[in-house]
């Protein structure tokens, strides 16, 4: 044996040892079923981590990433079955839809044991992927929507009618009450009545001023003059904020009806009456 031959044998022996140190074993893999997938489906691949030497602890979990044009690997996890074995569960999601039935490969990958450096090779696996719809050339050829199932809406319609009628009756009653109250106020409440009267006449007409006078009289329970105004504020203290305007009204009324005639800058009795009505409504009993 030549020296050269001897050296070759030594190198071969060294390579054999190195290969033995990096022992690679076939994996026990539960591959997913090989057919019947469409876009969006999640495909589960399970790799047994328990072997004769105990549990296989991978140095790293397969990364979450898009593995090819069709698939994206999702977060992996280790599950323990009832027989005590550990499985690495890897999910892939189908993220593309082929135009026709196509075979797609789950990629081959490997994991390495932390303790012994043992490596498990997971082979690729073919699965067939189908489109959701046939790729027709025009929208006319799309399959029509499925006919919805007819459910019986009669009871619901009846209930809807019933509640609608109840709502209508309630609204009508409320409106009627509102109208009745306005009508009653326009006949009973002093300033409501005056305001109602003012709607039909010119606010500068003597009748308009007289109507407001009657409202003041009714509120005070007596005929009011400038000198007897304190009676009004004793009887209806809520009118106090309008005292200046009320006094102005009486002063102008005195000038108009008993003095030299209508003074300049005549106040708006409608505005005054509206304001007094607003206060009156707030203090209605």
């Amino acid at each position: 044996m030549s020296v050269r031959t001897g050296l070759a044998l030594l190198a071969l022996m060294a390579l054999t040892d190195a290969l033995a140190a990096q022992h690679s074993s076939p994996a026990i893999v539960e591959q997913p079923r090989a057919f019947g997938y469409v876009i969006g489906d999640v495909i589960m691949q399970r790799v047994l981590l328990t072997n004769s030497r105990g549990d296989f602890k991978p140095t790293a979990m397969p990364p979450v990433q898009r593995v090819n044009i069709w698939l994206e690997r999702r977060a992996s996890r280790i599950e323990k079955t009832s027989d005590g074995r550990h499985w690495l569960v890897v999910d892939y999601q189908l993220i593309n839809a082929p135009p026709a039935l196509t075979t797609v490969q789950l990629p081959a990958w490997a994991i390495v044991d932390q303790a012994h450096g043992e490596r498990i090779e997971i082979p690729s696996a073919p699965i067939s992927v189908a489109p959701l719809i046939s790729h027709a050339s025009s929208a006319d050829q799309l399959r029509p929507d499925r006919e919805p199932s007819i459910i019986d809406t009669a009871p619901a319609r009846a209930r809807l009618w019933l509640w609608s009628i109840a709502l209508g009756v309630t609204l009508a009653a409320w409106l009627a009450w509102l109208q009745w109250r306005n009508w009653r106020d326009s006949h009973n409440q002093p300033f409501a009545r005056a305001l109602h009267h003012l709607r039909h006449i010119d606010e500068t007409a003597p009748e308009a001023w007289q109507a407001v006078h009657r409202a003041f009289d009714q509120t005070a329970g007596r005929v009011l003059q400038t000198e007897t105004l304190p009676t009004l504020f004793e009887r209806a203290p809520h009118l106090q904020p309008q005292r200046a305007e009320i006094e102005r009204f009486f002063a102008q009324s005195n000038e108009r009806f008993f003095g030299a005639g209508s003074p300049g800058n005549l106040l708006s009795v409608r505005a005054l009456c509206r304001e007094l009505r607003r206060i009156e409504r707030r203090h209605e009993q």
Binding site: P206, W209, Q210, H213, R214, D217, R222, V223, Q225, T226, E227, S253, N254, F257, F258, G259, A260
Partner: protein
């Protein structure tokens, strides 16, 4: 016809009269104002009140302030009409003499005739006075005596009813005002009246009043000028006419009195003379306030005193006159609307 300046000048004098009388009488501001109003409205005044409230004093004070001649008669049960007209006596030479009595004595200079306790005088005397009040004339000694400037102030006390003669309706109607002079209630005034010696000597009190402030001969003229110069609007006229209606049928205006059947209350409402007195007096109130028009407030200021004694109740309610008349007028003023 009096100018605006003259009216203003007279107004100042009228207010001065009130001020002067106020020096002698305290706590009677309203009474003083109303007597002053009657003076310029040329109306007679009947003053009623308790004994010793100052009825005589206030009238004497006015007499002094007005100026002109003043005469005073005490009403007694034995006073006869002739006692007002003439006075008979035997002179120092033993001759019987007849002289003019208190009513005629001053002739046309008589400005104030004060009849004290008028309800003690017999109806015959009251009748004579009524003519003198209404016509300002009296027939005597075959001729007619005139007192064109005379204003009669009469008083009566409302306590005594013995030996008195209630004034007839017609007599009461001759008085523009029937004033009720109240006893002062303010403590400081009561204290002054009781403890301040100044108020104990009536003559000295009267001396405080400046005499003859007014040229009394012109009072009729100025009174007429006031009546002409103070305007009453159509609305006010309607109001006064409504008040008149209300005095006859108060229930039509919603007037109610407790315990009174309103449909049976009124025997006769206010007389036309009463309503005239009301507006005459209201015009003077407006004038004193410096206005040229009457307002309802002017009416209200005098209505209780011009209308109260002019509403006549049915016999069943007449006994409660004092109480009912006041309440009725008050209610009428509260219920008759204006402007309308």
């Amino acid at each position: 016809m009096a100018s605006d300046e003259q009216l203003q000048d007279w107004r100042d004098r009228a207010l001065q009269v009130e001020e002067e009388v106020g020096k002698a009488i305290i706590g009677q501001r309203d009474t003083i104002r109303l007597i002053n109003v009657a003076l310029f409205a040329r109306g007679h005044v009947l003053l009623e009140g308790d004994v010793g409230v100052g009825k005589t004093t206030i009238l004497r004070a006015f007499s002094r302030a007005i100026g002109g001649d003043f005469e005073r008669v005490e009403g007694t049960v034995d006073l006869m009409p002739g006692d007002l007209i003439y006075h008979t006596y035997v002179d120092a030479e033993g001759k019987p003499r007849i002289e003019a009595g208190p009513l005629l004595r001053h002739g046309e200079r008589l400005a104030t005739f004060f009849f004290n306790e008028i309800n003690r005088a017999r109806p015959q005397v009251q009748s004579l006075l009524l003519r003198a009040m209404a016509e300002r004339t009296v027939s005597a000694f075959n001729r007619e005596y005139r007192f064109p400037h005379m204003i009669v102030f009469a008083d009566r006390n409302r306590v005594e009813k013995e030996e008195t003669f209630e004034l007839a309706s017609a007599a009461r109607d001759r008085f523009m005002f029937e004033l009720r002079m109240p006893t002062p209630v303010a403590p400081e005034i009561r204290r002054a009246l009781v403890f301040d010696p100044d108020f104990h000597d009536v003559d000295q009190l009267i001396e405080r009043v400046a005499p003859a402030i007014l040229p009394w001969q012109q009072l009729n003229e100025i009174g007429a000028a006031i009546q002409r110069s103070i305007h009453a609007s159509e609305v006010l006229e309607r109001y006064v006419l409504d008040l008149w209606d209300a005095s006859q049928a108060p229930e039509r205006f919603g007037v109610r009195l407790d315990g009174v059947d309103m449909s049976k209350l009124i025997l006769a409402g206010v007389s036309p003379r009463g309503m005239m007195s009301l507006t005459r007096a209201a015009r003077v109130v407006a004038w004193l306030a410096g206005r040229t028009h009457i307002t309802p407030a002017d009416i209200h200021a005098v209505a209780p005193w011009t209308l109260g004694h002019r509403v006549f109740f049915t016999p069943v309610y007449e006994l409660r006159r004092t109480q009912l008349a006041t309440a009725l007028i008050e209610q009428i003023l509260e219920h008759v609307p204006t402007p309308r």
